[in-house]
């Protein structure tokens, strides 16, 4: 099965290890993974009212990911952009709307793809700790992903999952929202951090790097002991290095 990885701009730039973890999981589940040249899904333009740039970027993504059986993103937000919003962007453009719909049908969020499409929920991973899981708004409401990451985490040896209170509430990231309205965003992430601490978990996991950067940034500022990883890192047994924002060797991946 030929699968293209939509790595997402944040993973590409910030946390390459998540990309390698996603590749690792997909390959072990029998996929042949390719990584077309890519930049971003275009959400910053789309959510700021700049539809011309959003469409130009979307056309670029549609072209680059044509011909793959499936397109998988380690993010509900970027997958949601491809799946839910590209078709909207081109609804009045007959030349592109079919191509956008075709991509939408082939696009998946990583945890949902592993469980629902590939039928895999045990990757034999080991992680010692109590983890809580943050549902990103896009995963939950656009991609309808809720049970899948939990099913995967239940199979991780040594990991005890603690449910996060108010799991339907946004963490306050929201793309450019967090820098346009920093006081509101700070309040929201503070509420989220309070819920995380209430669980008593030592690790926070999520499947969206945007939320994770936001929450990890606040946790580090508060000198919290809670460590932060993308769920793919734990599932691929690659959560042995520093968590997001932690001190340590930030260097290249070990192949």
């Amino acid at each position: 099965m030929r699968v293209a990885l939509f790595v997402t701009c944040l993973v590409d730039l910030y946390r390459p290890r998540v990309g390698f973890a996603a590749v690792n999981l997909l390959e072990r589940a029998g996929c042949q993974v390719e990584v077309p040249v890519q930049t971003c899904c275009g959400q910053p333009a789309y959510n700021n009212g700049d539809l011309d740039d959003a469409r130009a970027i979307a056309r670029q993504v549609i072209r680059a990911f044509e011909g793959f059986e499936h397109v998988v993103a380690p993010s509900g937000s970027c997958a949601g952009m491809l799946k839910c919003h590209y078709p909207t962007l081109f609804e009045d453009d007959p030349a592109w709307s079919d191509r956008a719909l075709d991509l939408a049908e082939r696009t998946h969020e990583l945890t949902a793809f592993l469980t629902d499409v590939l039928g895999q929920d045990d990757f034999g991973a080991h992680y010692t700790g109590q983890a809580t899981y943050h549902d990103s708004c896009s995963s939950l409401r656009e991609m309808k992903v809720h049970a899948q990451p939990r099913r995967l985490l239940e199979r991780v040896d040594g990991l005890q999952l603690k449910e996060l209170g108010d799991n339907e509430v946004c963490c306050g990231f929201g793309g450019t929202f967090c820098v346009k309205y920093p006081e509101l965003s700070a309040r929201m992430v503070d509420d989220k951090v309070a819920r995380i601490h209430e669980t008593g978990a030592d690790t926070l996991l999520a499947a969206d790097l945007g939320c994770l950067l936001n929450i990890a940034g606040r946790l580090r500022r508060l000198d919290s002991m809670v460590r932060v990883y993308h769920i793919a890192e734990v599932l691929a047994d690659m959560a042995d290095g520093p968590g997001l924002g932690e001190a340590g060797d930030q260097g290249k991946e070990r192949p």
Partner: protein
């Protein structure tokens, strides 16, 4: 009321640092959410009802002219009159004129958001009438000279102590009341006197029924009934979009309204008012008027904000909004707060005045998820942003930043070269600490958060290097 939506950021700052408000918001917070959840758990057909409700409203809006004319004909047939107001000014003039015709001194009011929208109380007072709000929450904020902070719970920002103090000040006794019971009893005593002496009663309407010419008003206090039936004249204020074809249609919407709003299966009072009192009626007004307010609604009917006209003002989007929950309703600066307000206020007051509102959202989508009328609120907020961007709105800095980023994002090779440098610089700055406390130009991020440092080389660069070694 005069909008302060242009000062949204300032309002947010003040609200976040207002300890009394924060305590009140915290206390009110989860109640509505839990009650709604419990009510829906007992209603397995909720999704089906939601679909019917949407279909009813979409059908009505597609034939709005016909249903409004039919409604008017039925009101006239039952002995009432319908007045059409394109603007808030026209609506105020009509109401004042009707009160003069009735020879009124005192006017009682049931809660009406359209009344707030057209600032009817100010107009009545300016014309020399005494206007008394009879919904307890509205009565409280009228005493405090404040606008409502929630569309169904106007005084939700007030604590019991705040209210007791207000009553002490305005009702002229020495000691503040301490129990909710005492507060309610005192308000009832005051309001009874107003009900019995009012000449005109003004209510809103939750629905207007075309087939019967009726106005449906739901309340939990019964104040709507006393406002409508005791005075000589009853005036109904309603937006054009409130009309539904039949009683059957109204009943579908009613099943969703209270559950979405307060988690009740039904409100304590659901009253239908049809025309003035008939010869055989025991009570009721001598005159019955409906003032239909447009105020931008007919324009929305034909544009990309059409979906907003399905709104039944239940308040579920406010109750589930993390922004509303953090700052309350007053920060939004005008009559309608929360996600529905962030759509309506710019449409009614202009994007120049309320340009922050559609932007101050993480587009988390919880509002759309709970909306009983399936209004795509995040999409509507985005459409306002599109209008704003096309009109050259937003700060220079953010427009520039966005343009520079988009220029790169449309050119993958250049993007990878430029971003590759960017992340290496950030990684070097982060060093072994793995994070940055401060970064020039990133103050909005680093005010409350560290910036986790990137790893060094981008994923794509590392991937292609490996592919070069025979992998990939």
């Amino acid at each position: 009321m005069k909008s302060t939506a242009h000062a949204f950021k300032h309002n947010v700052h003040v609200a976040l640092h207002d300890e009394r408000l924060q305590r009140a918001l915290h206390k009110a917070g989860g109640g509505f959410i839990d009650k709604r959840r419990a009510a829906l758990d007992e209603l397995p057909e909720f999704e089906a009802l939601r679909e019917s409700a949407r279909a009813i409203k979409d059908h009505t809006l597609a034939h709005l002219d016909e249903y409004l004319e039919h409604f008017e004909a039925q009101v006239i047939a039952s002995g009432g009159r319908v007045h059409w107001a394109r603007t808030p000014e026209q609506a105020r003039r009509i109401v004042v004129e009707l009160c003069r015709e009735a020879g009124a001194k005192r006017v009682t009011k049931g809660k009406s958001m359209v009344g707030e929208e057209i600032a009817v109380n100010e107009a009545l007072e300016a014309a020399g009438f005494e206007a008394v709000e009879t919904d307890l929450g509205e009565y409280i904020i009228q005493l405090a000279h404040e606008p409502p902070s929630h569309i169904i719970a106007p005084a939700i920002h007030k604590s019991r102590q705040d209210i007791a103090e207000l009553f002490r000040e305005h009702h002229g006794h020495h000691e503040a009341l301490d129990s909710a019971r005492e507060i309610v009893d005192e308000a009832r005593e005051r309001l009874r006197a107003a009900f019995l002496s009012a000449d005109v009663g003004i209510t809103g309407a939750n629905f207007l029924v075309a087939e019967t010419g009726s106005a449906i008003v739901v309340t939990n206090e019964g104040n709507g009934d006393l406002t409508a039936t005791l005075p000589r004249t009853h005036i109904v204020l309603a937006g054009l979009e409130k009309v539904v074809p039949t009683l059957e249609d109204a009943s579908v919407l009613l099943r969703l309204l209270a559950r979405s709003a307060t988690g009740q299966a039904f409100t304590a009072y659901t009253s239908l008012f049809t025309g003035p009192r008939r010869a055989e009626d025991g009570d009721g007004p001598e005159a019955f008027h409906v003032v239909l307010v447009d105020n931008g609604r007919s324009e929305m009917l034909g544009n990309e904000f059409h979906d907003m006209l399905r709104c039944i003002r239940c308040g579920a989007c406010l109750n589930h909004c993390p922004i509303y929950g953090a700052v309350g309703g007053h920060a939004y600066g005008w009559v309608y707060p929360g996600p529905m307000g962030a759509v309506l206020t710019p449409l009614m007051q202009g994007l120049g005045e309320a340009g922050d509102l559609p932007n101050a959202s993480s587009l988390c989508g919880r509002c759309e998820a709970v909306c009983p009328m399936s209004i795509p609120l995040p999409a509507l907020l985005r459409r306002l942003r599109v209008r704003q961007y096309a009109a050259g709105g937003g700060s220079k800095r953010s427009r520039w930043g966005l343009a520079a980023w988009a220029f790169l994002a449309r050119r993958p090779r250049l993007y990878q070269w430029a971003m590759g440098w960017g992340v290496r610089v950030l990684a070097a700055l982060g060093g072994r600490r793995g994070r940055l406390r401060r970064l020039p130009g990133a103050g909005a991020w680093t005010a409350a958060r560290d910036l986790p440092a990137p790893a060094g080389d981008t994923f794509q660069k590392q991937w292609r290097q490996r592919a070069g070694r025979g992998r990939g």
